[in-house]
Symmetry: C2
Subunit: 213 residues, 2 copies
DNA sequence: ACTGCATGTTACCGCAAGTAACATGCACGT
DNA sequence: ACGTGCATGTTACTTGCGGTAACATGCAGT
């Protein structure tokens, strides 16, 4: 068994895989996280068992799909994070990049955040890892950037990880709420969040008439 | 049709409803968000259609269940938020209260955060409101407290709402990650998050050798 | 021509949400 | 005492989705 044939077949399989993923993408873009395997198979012009042969189960397909989008988003975020500007500007650029992304494709974003919650095979109650992979990856990534660039003294590495996940969670929740209610422009939201990270909460004065928050 | 009978019947119905909710509670505590209507009915000693008569559909039951726990948690949080201490201490107490709650009952917490994502009837793609009701309610509540007590100048109300949802998201994501990895004690996590809110991110110095984050 | 293997199909299983139609117990007006 | 209404309860079903088994087909290499 020489290698050329193996490679050939694998190439073809990879191509198919990519085609299937793109079909799945279209369906998810249209139907959100509710996209069914039947629908995806139909969109791809084939039937279910093929999907299962390629991806094992629904979780596998979703994981593969999530990986693509997550990678893409993380690339954008890294670019914003690495821009040649001062810290505040970069934080704002990063927030803006994220918000722009979720604003552009809400369905995909929704899918990434709540992937396959009700699927069987999810039986293990290991509570910790139920968060969306995207959130975790963004948190770890941000933590690394923080730890690399900021001098946080002893315990800085752990502090960076807490902050990474915390900031990502802040961004996510605020973005989610903002996308639903649209209470202000994207720019205003970005500024408000950056202000929060810049300590305006602690610096604000008490309102007259009661003890401060 | 006099009222006494009506009231009587309603009382009885309410009692049943509460019993059913408690049974559902037990099942969710055991099985997490995957709890099936059959299982809940069995635990309550009855059959499915009764559940549907009382709660309409699975979403209804879950909403009722979530309401109970959400109310309880919000009461605890309000207590921490209203304690007679300075702002920093109260923020830390609130964070600690939340983390203690999710640490004590991970299944319930998981259920509250990701309720019935895959249920039909969820077909409307109104993306915004997909976030857990608990997160939204906590965000709004916190926003109100912030807006009531802090002098934020013009635009303060909107700022308070952004911050409310942002802080809650930070708390949630960090807590979620922490619960899964247990990288440090609860106290350390609380301090780290409070530090973040207190502006240490902006105040930190650049690490030698590169531009600061 | 025969084998091996990936690709593709139809037809099925199991399980959970949700519903229709049928039974039963209990307060009421007459 | 007797039917009438109404809530409570049941069995048995439909629908839809995830997942799989068994069977068909096209195309290398010997």
């Amino acid at each position: 068994m020489d290698t050329t044939q193996r490679t050939d077949q694998q190439r073809s399989a990879d191509r198919r895989r990519r085609e299937l993923l793109e079909a799945a993408d279209r369906v998810v873009l249209r139907d959100g996280p509710q996209a069914s395997m039947n629908a995806i198979a139909a969109e791809a012009g084939i039937t279910k068992p093929i999907l299962y042969r390629h991806f094992g189960d629904k979780g596998g397909l979703y994981a593969a799909l999530a990986m693509r989008h997550t990678d893409a988003l993380l690339d954008s975020l890294r670019a914003a994070l690495d821009a040649p500007a001062d810290r505040r500007e970069r934080v704002e650029a990063t927030l803006d990049t994220y918000l722009t992304a979720i604003e552009a494709r809400p369905q995909v974003y929704r899918f990434l955040m709540h992937p396959a919650e009700g699927s069987p095979g999810d039986q293990g109650f290991d509570v910790g890892k139920h968060s969306a992979p995207l959130l975790r990856r963004m948190g770890e990534e941000l933590a690394q950037v923080i730890e690399e660039r900021l001098d946080l003294g002893p315990g800085g590495q752990q502090l960076a990880r807490v902050w990474g996940h915390g900031i990502v969670g802040m961004m996510h929740a605020a973005g989610d709420w903002w996308l639903g209610e649209r209470p202000c422009s994207r720019g205003e939201l970005v500024r408000s969040l950056a202000d929060l990270l810049w300590g305006r909460l602690a610096a604000a004065g008490d309102k007259i008439g009661g003890p401060g928050f």
